[in-house]
């Protein structure tokens, strides 16, 4: 089963994303801020990370960089799931090293298609 780490501070959005992932047969682990995400990513090597950007303690780009310092995460895809959805944001996040970018509010079918790509 594909292990996914979902980093999201908004409880409702967390529930939504995890419900979709669960329905699609992923195994989900939740982290509500950057520190928790880093800690959980150290214990278990996940197959996929879904990363919110505006987190209470640090931003998702930074969290991803820290997690990626672990060589085990070299090829683990990270998807940015963010409400920063203005023109140019997609390019900005892809350039920052995210494998995919999903703007909020997410299109459920579109999101399902994207995560399907990363299912092991």
């Amino acid at each position: 089963m594909t292990k996914v780490l979902v980093v999201e501070d908004n409880a409702l959005n967390m529930e939504l994303v995890c419900d979709i992932l669960d329905a699609k047969g992923f195994s989900t682990e939740r982290a509500v801020d950057g520190a928790e995400a880093i800690k959980k990513a150290e214990k278990v090597i996940f197959d996929l990370i879904i990363m919110d950007i505006a987190l209470p303690d640090m931003d998702g780009i930074e969290v991803t960089k820290i997690i990626k310092t672990n060589p085990a995460y070299k090829n683990v895809p990270v998807i940015a799931l963010t409400a920063y959805a203005l023109k140019g944001d997609r390019e900005k996040f892809l350039e920052a090293g995210f494998n995919d970018y999903v703007p909020k509010p997410l299109d459920v079918s579109e999101f399902m298609k994207i995560i399907e790509k990363y299912k092991g």
């Binding site: 908004n10 409702l12 959005n13 939504l16 419900d19 979709i20 329905a23 950007i53 505006a54 987190l55 931003d59 998702g60 409400a83 920063y84 959805a85 203005l86 703007p103 909020k104 509010p105 997410l106 299109d107 459920v108 079918s109």
Partner: protein
């Protein structure tokens, strides 16, 4: 990543226009300026100089030994200063001309003219400083507004994510079957969520146009071809509502130089509205082109529900709240026509609407044959 500004809030007062005309310095301004102190000193010095000159003349005439005492202690000193004609102090009684009062009157004028360039430079420096502060405030206001819009958009999208996302999941019946009412309610929630999302996008677009952030790309386009592309795009939707689209093209209108995407957006929106506000039974939408001098006039006429006269003048403002006159609920965001007006003007054109309530509406926009790209 909440981009909260740590700067002290600056009160934004007064006129923030950058290109105010340079104020004309009046005589009062000049006298009250710092230059007046120097003028005053010079006037006093001049009075003394004039006195010495006059006294020196008297001295040579009568070999007056205590002339200095006379200048300082003579009680008639002031009278002498101020009266243009005065009797000589000597026994010889004849009237001499005393130029001092004239000199006194003339001096401020002379000095103001002497100091004018200096005062102007000082005022210029002050002005430059004021302009710099104003400019900084404008910049700051723009920055704050921009951050505000980014944050607002982020917050609204975060919550819309739940509204649209959960309702979508229910619509997909992931949680099980819904009864008819539940199905209808969830569709309402989902569609309202999407409308809110469209409003946010439109507001940001309008802001972009208003702050001059939309760049136009001018290229040569074929008007009939582009319009036909637009019509093809909406044909299916029109057919569903029993609306026929007609073309009445002026053969003189062929190519224009403008921004193709903006052109298509304007026309597409007008066509969309024309079909959307058609009558229940359907109708006819006519797209007309006409050459008018160095402009091209494009009209989209419909035989739809029309707009009441009372609503006409607020048509191109955001959220016009048209309550009367539309027999069908509009599905737009209420910002669409304001955006169109901004886009047309960006391309150097104009847009207007005419309508007869119950009969139909005509939206006309004029674009220059060649749009000049603003530097």
């Amino acid at each position: 990543m909440g981009t909260k500004s740590e700067d002290e809030p600056i009160e934004l007062k007064g006129n923030l226009k950058e290109d105010e005309p340079h104020p004309v310095e009046t005589l009062t301004d000049m006298v009250l300026s710092r230059a007046s102190i120097q003028i005053l000193i010079l006037i006093i010095l001049s009075i003394l100089a004039a006195q010495i000159l006059i006294m020196a003349l008297s001295y040579t005439r009568s070999s007056f030994p205590t002339w200095l005492d006379d200048i300082i202690f003579n009680p008639l000193f002031l009278v002498f200063l101020l009266s243009p004609f005065t009797g000589s102090e000597t026994e010889v009684s004849f009237v001499v001309f005393n130029p001092t009062p004239f000199v006194l009157l003339l001096l401020p004028v002379v000095y103001i003219f002497l100091f004018r360039p200096w005062a102007k430079r000082a005022a210029g420096r002050k002005r430059t400083e004021e302009m710099r502060i104003k400019k900084e405030r404008i910049e700051y206001a723009r920055k704050v507004k921009n951050e505000y819009l980014i944050n607002m958009s982020h917050e609204l999208r975060t919550h819309l994510n739940s509204i649209i996302g959960f309702s979508e999941l229910m619509k997909q019946k992931i949680t099980g079957e819904l009864n008819v009412k539940q199905n209808s309610y969830i569709n309402n929630i989902h569609s309202s969520g999407n409308t809110l999302l469209a409003i946010i996008s439109d507001l940001l677009d309008l802001n972009k146009i208003e702050t001059g952030k939309v760049e136009i790309v001018v290229e040569k386009i074929s008007v009939p071809e582009t319009i036909t592309e637009n019509i093809d795009h909406i044909q299916e939707k029109a057919a569903k509502q029993n609306v026929t689209i007609k073309k009445e093209f002026d053969p003189a209108v062929e190519h224009i130089e403008t921004d193709k995407n903006i052109f298509k957006q304007i026309l597409g929106n007008l066509l969309d509205n024309a079909v959307k506000f058609s009558k229940e039974a359907g109708g006819i939408v006519t797209v007309t082109t006409k050459k008018e001098g160095d402009m091209v006039k494009i009209s989209v006429s419909d035989t739809g529900v029309g707009i009441r006269e009372i609503d006409m003048n607020k048509l191109f403002t955001p959220f016009p709240h048209i309550e009367s006159g539309l027999t069908r609920k509009p599905h737009g965001t209420g910002i669409g026509l304001a955006i169109l007006k901004g886009l047309v003007e960006l391309c150097g054109g104009t847009i207007r609407a005419e309508s007869e309530f119950g009969e139909g509406s005509t939206f006309t926009f004029l674009l220059p044959l060649k749009t000049e790209k603003k530097a």
